[in-house]
Amino acid sequence: MITRFTIAERQASLVLLLLMTLAGLAMAAAGAGDAMGVHGFIVLFASLGLIFVVGGALYDPAPTEDRSRAYYDDPIKVGIVLAMIWAVIAMGVGDWVAWMLAFPDLRFDGAWSGFGRMRPVHTTGIIFGFGGNALIATSFHVMQRTCRARLAGQIAPWFVILGYNLFVVMAVTGYMMGVTQSKEYAEAEWYADIWLVIVWVVYFVLYLRTLARRNEPHIYVANWYYMAFILVVAVLHIVNNLAVPASFTAAKSYSLFSGVQDAMTQWWYGHNAVAFFLTSGFLGMLYYYLPKRANRPIYSYRLSILSFWGITFFYIWVGSHHLHYTALPHWVQTLGMTFSVMLLVPSWASAGNALMTLNGAWHKVRDDATLRFMFVAAVFYGLSTFEGSFLAIRPVNSLSHYTDWTVAHVHAGAMGWVALITFGAIYAAVPMIWRRETMYSWKMVEWHFWLALAGTLIYVFAMWNSGIVQGLMWRTYTEGGTLRYSFLDTMIAMHPYYIARGIGGLLFLAGAVIGFINIWMTIRAVGSDSKVLDVPTESEAGEPAVPVAE
């Protein structure tokens, strides 16, 4: 992969990596005795390792490819593999903590292994590790294809992919050492947050520069969704993480916000992380890979634009539905509730657009598990957006809030929608990117599909039951006007559902492991010849023969 860099690009990468090594060394020295010091060593060794990779190939021959004629797919390949590695790690941790809730002895008495530390490892690993890598990788694919232009840069895509993963590693290892700023989905501390801002700005600029190179008059709608994802996540991340470090040589910091402003800022961030990280970018995937895989253009392009603006402008306001019955002004709660209900319209427009695209091609959905992943994802998208609007209504929320119903809702979205559309997109993208006819094994895709669907259904039904039982027990009074059930009574009632959840999660994890093996075997080209395309290849020897003087 380094041989695709010009000599000057290899030198520039080395300078960049040297700067990062020095930054890691400074962090390790200054932060000695604190988690920051450990992170310094992680930065140091990651950069040193990459220096060896780049340095080892420094004097290899310069590349011969015609860059104006070829897409740049190497960073996509790495991004897809990293996404699958994070999927296996973070789903594994998720299932472990699910069993830990049913059988607390599974904590094994480590400080690092408590639920409070492992739970953010699971959420960050899934959302940012699995989801984020999949979004970045597929966005590199989609932006190049829809623009009919090569990525605008050779080093920038690598900086984005690898720098982003460095952030996730720092976040996740930090939690295990007890580092957290106690903001859900934004637990990472100040230096990791600053690093993510740098990476994210490079990502945004890279996207804009690639769009500027486009050879199509109109920017295809999938790009709009990816752009909204990048832009809004940048705004959310910066505002919610505004904080003053207690010391520049340690991880601890204090948020700029306090009291109800802190809660509102956090949930403005938190729900928009769901909106723009877990929805917008994945809709971008849906609008590209679903029509492509079904070989049918999207049912209504106009509807896709209308729902884009609907989702963008309604979602921004819904965060306050997380703060019903709190000190937040009542009208702000009502605003969040109202916009949450209105949001159903553009959400169902997107889901309907996807399903109408498949209407008339149901035999393809039946025969092709990859397309079926995307179809079921669209169905779950419709279901969980309906449930989300419903749960945001104040009286419904009084039953559901703080119970496992919320957990059921989140996982219907995260497993049924986000993970399934991602697996569908990855199964569609892998043969294209690695130039294979098909995946290594279509049977393994089938297995993955059914394990994932069964796991999701078991998980979601278990948590629906658990959450509603829990909520009803909490609000049951005796004739004397006291609470009938103690906390322990609810725990005992929920125990069977917690076991069911562990089983559902295990099935989902097993599917992801099978998927990873299948992808790896496809990459290794086991049992297949690589697909020959009538496009220039890397080496001059591989160029298609051109008849001379005819």
Binding site: T146, R148, K292, R302, W309, F313
Partner: protein, 62 residues
């Protein structure tokens, strides 16, 4: 800071917010249904069906 009382900010948010959202909705509908955009959208929707061959260059763009 007299001009920026809680009530003033809330009043602004509630009135301006309403009108800007209405204006935005109208603007987007006009853009989406503008007759001259029809071909543009049709081309975009079909353009993704065949895009794996590599970037377009000057000669094949016509």
């Amino acid at each position: 800071m007299m001009g920026l009382s809680h009530d003033t900010v809330v009043g602004f948010a509630k009135s301006f917010g309403l009108f800007y959202l209405i204006a935005l909705s109208i603007g987007i509908c006009v853009y989406v249904f503008w007759p001259r955009n029809r071909d543009r959208f049709r081309r975009a929707k079909h353009s993704i069906m065949d895009d794996e061959d590599g970037p377009l260059t000057g000669e094949d763009r016509q």
